[in-house]
Structure formats: C-alpha cells, structure tokens
C-alpha cells in the first residue's frame, strides 16, 4: 500500500464531503429542466468550472501522458486544435448561437425540429452507442491507474471502482445537473491544485535540460518537431491537424457532455463567453498532462527502467510525490474522475431517456411523458448506463493508442452531427434524406477502425477527415435527390 494513514484519511474526508454536498440539493429538483440543465441558471465562472471538471478525468491525464511518453515534445501540437475550435465558435457564435436561441436540452432535439423525429431517434441511437462505448473504457483504464498509485491489490480493484461509481451515481441520481455543478466546484479546487503541483514537482524531480536530452537522444528530431520529416507526411502533420480541428468543432457542438454546459448557461452571451475562455483552459488541459508523460519518459529513461506509456504517469506520481501529499494528489485525481463520471452518466443517460426512450413512447402513445415520469426514466437509465460501463470495462480488450480509441468512438456520430447541424442551420435545402445519409456515411470510416484497429491505425488521420468529407457528400446527395423527387421543403427553417 503506497498511501499512509494520513493520505487515506484525506481521501475518505474528501469523498464523504463531496457525497453530502452533492446530495443536499435534491429538494431543488422539481422537473426535467432542473434535472438536466439546472433550470438554465448557470453563470460564466460556474460554467467554466463545470466544463473543465467534466472534460478532465484521470483518463484524460492517462491518454495525454501516453502520447507525451511515446511521441515526446512533438505531441504537444495536439493541444492546438481544441484551442482553435473553442476560440472560433466562442468568438463568431457559428452554429452555437442559433442552437442556444432554440433553448434545447440535447442536440438530437435539434434534429426533430429541423428534420424529422426518425432522424432524432437515429442520431440519438448512434450518440448513445458511441458515447457509452467511449465511456465504457474509463473504469478499467482508471482502475489500473488507481492500482499503481495507491497499491490497492488487483483483486480489490473492481470493488473499489464499483464503490466509487455508486457514490457518484447516488448523488447525481438525486440532484442531477444541480448536484453536478455544486460538486464540480469542490472538485475543481482540488483538481487544479493537483495539476499545477504535479507539473512543478515533475520539473524539479529531473530538470528541464535532462528531459530535453532524453527525448532528443531517444527519439531524435521526431521527438521535438511535430512536422518532421515534412508537414504533409509526419504523424502530427497537416492531415492530422485538419481532422482534429474539424473533430473539435464537431465535439463542441455534438458531444453531449460539453454541449450540455452550453445549454445550461443562462443566456447566449454567457454560452459564447464560456466557449471563448475554455480555449485557454483546454490548452492547459492538454499541455500539462502531455508534459507529465514527457517528464516520465525522461525520468525512467535516466533510470534505465522499462515502463509502458499508460503506466508511466501513475508510476511517476508514486516516485516524485513527497509522502503526506500523495493523499491530497490522489484526492485531486479522484475529483477529476468522479466529476467526469457524474457528468457523463447524466449526459449519456439523458440522450437515451430523452431521445431514444422518449421518442419511442411518443411514437406509440402519441404524447410526451410528464416531467415527473421523464425524471424517473432518466434516473433508471442512468443506473443502467453505470452497470453497462462496469461490464464493458471488464470484457473489452483495448488495442492501440487509448487516445485514438476514444476519438473513434466519438467519430461514430460526430461527422454526421456536425454536417447535419451546420447545413441544417445555414443551408435551406438540407433535407431529411440528406441527414440520414450524412449520419450513415460519417459512421462508416470509424467503424473500420473500431473493428480493425491494428490494420488501419496508420490511416487514423485519413479516417478522421474522410468521415467528415463523405458525411458532407451524403448530405448534399440525399438533399438534392429529395428536393428533386419529393414535395416542397416543409422542414422548419432555422436560420
């Protein structure tokens, strides 16, 4: 066991505190709007905290650190696309302004307003599958991290993860988005301290020039220059950057855990401001963990130790943290993960309950469920999602880069979503057949990766931007055909 008694006490106090802070807001939840978007009452600072907490988990540290460990300083270029996407959307209001003005709770809602209820059901289904498969590897990967940092034996890991997830499930189940916002505040305070502390401790543990020497000695120019040997042929070259910028713009619109923050903000101006400033925060979200991976590479290269990319960060933390502080850092890591679990449980279960189950019930009975019944369905769905991700993490064997697995599960619905939403808002001739084709075509390339990761890994960038290209092709072809043979466009015009 790596944790001392003081460390364990710190962690237990933190977990109990968060649980009670998350549970006491239950009395404020009166309907589905309070539950899913906190009654649209979130201000700028809380919105930024909540967004950062959602999108920083232990798994975020791990996949970024793995990149840094494997590819050196060159992989820091990965931090650029989210910054570009956030600034672009936050500054121009492109796509997000019309969406905010529509006052929707989930992105698939847009699809029923612009296209048809069938399209809403279809994209909801793909979002649920992609999102939950993405979420499904979290417990397994993070259990490994916890195992290395704490020294809890492997036999008890499953129990540890189930207990943690159950605590998160309980307070999210009763308090919904309000409890997520309250617990996020506490979690962000401890998480941000941990991130800055690990960065400083890492540099002091080994020294800047030692890190640079280790990378240049082992990786050569490729470890420092992301465009080596050339901009067009390097691993992080122009193809990669185009794919990533497109994907991040799409994620900021269609990734429910992110766009939910947008829909919870109290007005359009606040939503755009949250996105503008998130650009700066997301730069650090990538740069710091990638740098930890590079530090780990230098640290273990100097010691002549063989470690794997995913294990490098937790091993580094156990080596460089002074005793007594490990508990606080571990509480920070737990905070990052618990806040992500809470938001993801709420996000993906809201898609299942609102857009899949809700659509089916409305189709059969012809009317929507009452707000109270929607609340009940949402809570049952959330418990089901949690049970599924524990099961999936036990049986799924991860191959290739974790970063690419997470990107490709998102890509199942992301190209179709971006094309349908953008053209749905800005192109008056976008039609339902085009939406069906765009969603279907966009899902094909990432399926190739998910079934044959080893064979197609070197074509990840082409699969990435290719998905957007054929989704666009599907939308144009489908809309043109429907406009030629179908009746006049009765779809509601958005812009």
């Amino acid at each position: 066991m790596n944790l001392s008694y003081i460390d364990i006490i710190i962690v237990i106090i933190y977990v109990i505190f968060v649980f009670f802070a998350g549970s006491f807001v239950k009395k404020y939840i009166k309907g589905i709007d309070d539950y899913l978007v906190a009654g649209r009452s979130m201000g700028f600072n809380l919105g930024l905290i909540s967004l950062m907490c959602t999108e920083i988990g232990m798994i975020t540290y791990m996949y970024y650190a793995e990149l840094g460990f494997q590819a050196g300083f060159a992989s820091l270029i990965v931090a650029l696309p989210p910054v570009v996407a956030y600034f672009f959307l936050g500054k121009t209001g492109f796509i997000i302004k019309p969406l905010l003005e529509m006052q929707i709770k989930t992105i698939p809602e847009f699809f029923s307003k612009k296209y048809s209820k069938g399209v809403r059901f279809y994209i909801g289904l793909l979002m649920a599958v992609g999102g939950i498969l993405n979420f499904g590897v979290f417990p397994g990967v993070e259990a490994r991290f916890i195992n290395i940092v704490t020294g809890i034996p492997n036999d008890y890991l499953l129990v540890t993860m189930v207990v943690l997830l159950t605590i998160v499930l309980l307070y999210t189940l009763v308090g919904g988005m309000v409890s997520v916002i309250v617990t996020n505040y506490i979690q962000y305070a401890i998480l941000s301290f941990g991130m800055v502390f690990i960065t400083i401790a890492g540099v002091f543990a080994i020294g800047w020039s030692e890190i640079v020497d280790a990378v240049t000695y082992s990786m050569g120019a490729k470890g420092m220059n992301p465009f080596y040997p050339s901009v067009s042929s390097s691993e992080f070259g122009i193809g990669f950057l185009i794919w990533q910028i497109l994907e991040w713009i799409a994620l900021l619109v269609g990734w429910q855990a992110i766009s939910m923050r947008l829909f919870s903000s109290k007005n359009t101006k606040t939503g755009q401001k949250i996105y503008r400033w998130s650009g700066l925060m997301f730069l650090s979200r990538a740069v710091l963990p990638i740098f930890w991976g590079i530090v780990a590479f230098g640290y273990f290269a100097n010691q002549g130790k063989e470690v794997t990319g995913l294990d490098s960060l937790p091993l580094l933390i156990t080596q460089i943290m002074p005793s007594g502080l490990l508990g606080l850092i571990f509480a920070g890591l737990l905070a990052a993960s618990m806040s992500t679990y809470a938001s993801y449980l709420l996000s993906w279960s809201s898609i299942v309950s609102q857009d899949i189950i809700g659509s089916v019930i409305k189709y059969i009975t012809g009317q929507e469920l009452s707000s109270k019944k929607q609340l009940l369905v949402s809570r049952i769905t959330m418990a089901a999602v949690m049970i599924f991700i524990i099961w999936w993490s036990l049986f799924h064997d991860l191959q290739g880069y974790l970063y690419f697995y997470l990107q490709m599960t998102a890509m199942l619905f992301i190209p179709g979503t971006l094309i349908c939403v953008t053209l749905g808002i800005y192109w008056k001739k976008a039609r339902t057949l085009g939406a069906y084709l765009a969603i279907t075509f966009g899902a094909l390339p990432p399926l190739l990766y998910l079934f044959y990761p080893k064979q197609v890994e070197s074509y990840a960038s082409e699969i990435g931007w290719g998905g957007f290209l054929i989704a666009l092709f599907g939308m144009v072809i489908g809309s043109v055909i429907q406009n030629m043979i179908g009746p006049k466009n009765k779809n509601k015009e958005i812009a």
């Binding site: 009452s41 600072n45 931090a79 650090s284």
Partner: protein, 38 residues
C-alpha cells in the same frame, strides 16, 4: 536551445501560469455565483 525547445518551453510555462491564474479567478468568482444559484 533549438527553435522547437524554445517553442515548447514557452508553451509549457504559459499553460501552467494561465491555468493557475484562470483557476484562481473562476474559483473566486464562481463561489459568488454558486451562493447566488443556491
């Protein structure tokens, strides 16, 4: 120091400092928002 080493050093220092100050800022003002919301 090579070109890329300077680029990455500036990036890492800027990221660490901006993250620290932004975090302190949002936590300070976020507390008021949290009290108001509750």
């Amino acid at each position: 120091m090579g070109f890329w080493e300077i680029v990455w050093l500036v990036t890492i220092v800027f990221s660490t400092l901006s993250f620290t100050f932004m975090s302190l800022r949002v936590l300070y003002f976020g507390f008021g928002e949290l009290k108001f919301m509750l």
